[in-house]
């Protein structure tokens, strides 16, 4: 009887802890959203928690009146789409080649790519390399250095090795070459892993602020995350508001503060991810689990 009571106490404690944890994660996101939709000067009084007090779109009107956010959005979408398509395609075909045990030189290539996990040249030699290749200040600096990732090669390779060999063998009997086998038979069977790795790659591109900070100076080529960092850190938002005054009618801008503009920029940056994420979550989880079996 006493143990039964103890379990109940534990259960209540457990649910409480988990609820608090979830709240501590969701609430900060929610509050940012509310502050971004509230009148900037009114927000300074504090006390906005669950709902806006003086609801307005003016923070968003201000940030979209300037070309920075629009340009940054374009750059981010472009690099995410091109980067993901190229990266997933190249990674998949490489991993498919490496999944064939009879391929000569396979062990050497595996060892060569695995070694990069334990040792790398570091930031400076890579920076100098990108400089020599004239990749700095181009859109390609976001895409080419991120084409292959060891972890995704391993995930694809493990997946391909688990496919039944008989399907490919019978296609080969009918005279199909490796190209046809891969694109007609293997790819259709691999859509779940393709989805998982595409999502990881796309999120990586969307969230990357580093390349934009280090490899790019041209303000027109700055991605969203890098712009956000500048706005949060360097009070670029004050300039942004000042700039907007000329383009947007005075009336809608007067109650915007650099703080409320920051909140709106934050929301704009995370919105695509937060909206898509609950639907895609299971693919992400699958990716972690496939990899952990053999890694």
């Amino acid at each position: 009887m006493r143990r039964h009571w103890g379990e109940k106490v534990f259960s209540v404690f457990n649910y409480t802890i988990l609820c608090l944890l979830s709240f501590s994660i969701l609430f900060p996101f929610w509050r940012i959203l509310m502050l971004s939709m509230n009148d900037g000067i009114d927000s300074l009084r504090g006390g906005i928690y669950f709902w806006p007090r003086e609801a307005t779109w003016s923070n968003y009107i201000v940030i979209f009146a300037r070309s920075e956010i629009i340009d940054a959005y374009k750059v981010t979408i472009l690099r995410t789409v091109i980067g993901t398509v190229l990266s997933v395609f190249l990674t998949a075909i490489m991993a498919y080649g490496l999944s064939k045990r009879h391929l000569k030189g396979r062990k050497f290539v595996n060892a060569m790519i695995l070694f990069t996990m334990f040792f790398n040249g570091g930031l400076i030699p890579i920076y100098l390399l990108l400089k020599d290749l004239h990749l700095l200040n181009t859109l390609w600096v976001y895409i080419i250095p991120a084409l292959y990732q060891l972890w995704y090669i391993i995930l694809f390779r493990t997946f391909f090795q688990q496919l039944p060999a008989s399907l490919e063998e019978s296609a080969k009997m009918d005279g199909a070459n490796d190209l046809i086998v891969f694109f007609r038979i293997v790819v259709p069977l691999s859509l779940p892993i393709v989805a998982t790795i595409s999502l990881f790659t796309a999120v990586g591109h969307w969230n990357d602020w580093f390349s934009g900070t280090v490899y790019v100076q041209d303000p027109k080529l700055i991605p969203l995350q890098t712009l956000l960092m500048k706005i949060i850190r360097e009070n670029d938002s004050a300039q942004m508001i000042a700039g907007s005054l000329s383009t947007v009618s005075q009336q809608s801008v007067k109650s915007v503060t650099s703080y409320s503009v920051k909140m709106a920029t934050l929301v704009v940056t995370i919105l695509p991810i937060v909206c898509l994420y609950p639907f895609l979550q299971r693919y992400f989880v699958k990716g972690v689990l496939v990899g952990s079996i053999k890694g």
Binding site: G6, F10, P28, G46, I48, I113, F118, G121, F182, Q225
Partner: protein, 301 residues
Amino acid sequence: MSKGIWNDRYLYLFVIPGVIWFLIFCYQPMYGVLIAFKDYDIVAGVYNSEWVGLKYFSDFFHDFNFNSIMINTIAISLLKLLIGFPAPIILALLLNEVKKKMFKRITQTVTYLPFFVSWVVVSGIWYELLTVDQGGIVNTFLMNIGLLKEPVFWFGNPDYFWGLVVASDIWKGIGWGSIIYLAALSGVDVDLYEAAVMDGASRWKQTWHITLPGIRSTIIILFILNVGSILNAGFDQIYVMQNPAVMDRAQIIDTYVMTTGIFQANYSIAAAVGLFKSIVGLIMLLLVNALVKILGEEGVL
């Protein structure tokens, strides 16, 4: 034999672009890191620059910032290992006890979320939570319950920086980190629990004697990998969270490489520091791995 290679021509076509990429973007920089031992001259290039031996390593070791950089790096890593490493394990154990499927799924979805936003976003969110004006929620709360008399500028005080780093790291990673343990937990034999209940073992005893041993190998592997990256205090996070007021506690090896190498263009010394970090990391990984094997567990290598 050559016929075999011809038969596999498409497979080679698949692999070769990747090999070329790895040669250029991973192996060329390994050659480029030689500038750590040279007085790098942009015009002359890596090959033609003068050798200076270990000059830049010694410069770094004698830098008056060296001690504080090393202390910051190692202290933040150790704190993350001590507090941050067990956090997802505990979350996984708690989630494992939840019987209501729907509740479990929602909690998981919510706790995974911060993993998918960047450190820039997380630092923006935390900055807002802890702000002094605009009624920062943490300050307001602590003042309402009487723990604080006046708002504290959390981000501006060096004493709080390590704590903020560890706390925000847990906030961002606890959910995602728990996935792998949850998977390991689902592999624990159910019969063992039934047998334990028969023997009258309490919930706590079951956790201690069945659940934890069941996920021990997963814990050990992740622990080795964490110790191996002891000099990675978390570049992304610390770079975006640091500000001039807290620099004494916030300068780590990676941020030093970034400022010295990229912003001040002292390529050789920055490359030397980066190389020092890589080598120490590799040695640590091998050491812990060997130690774990001596203790009779399976390592990662």
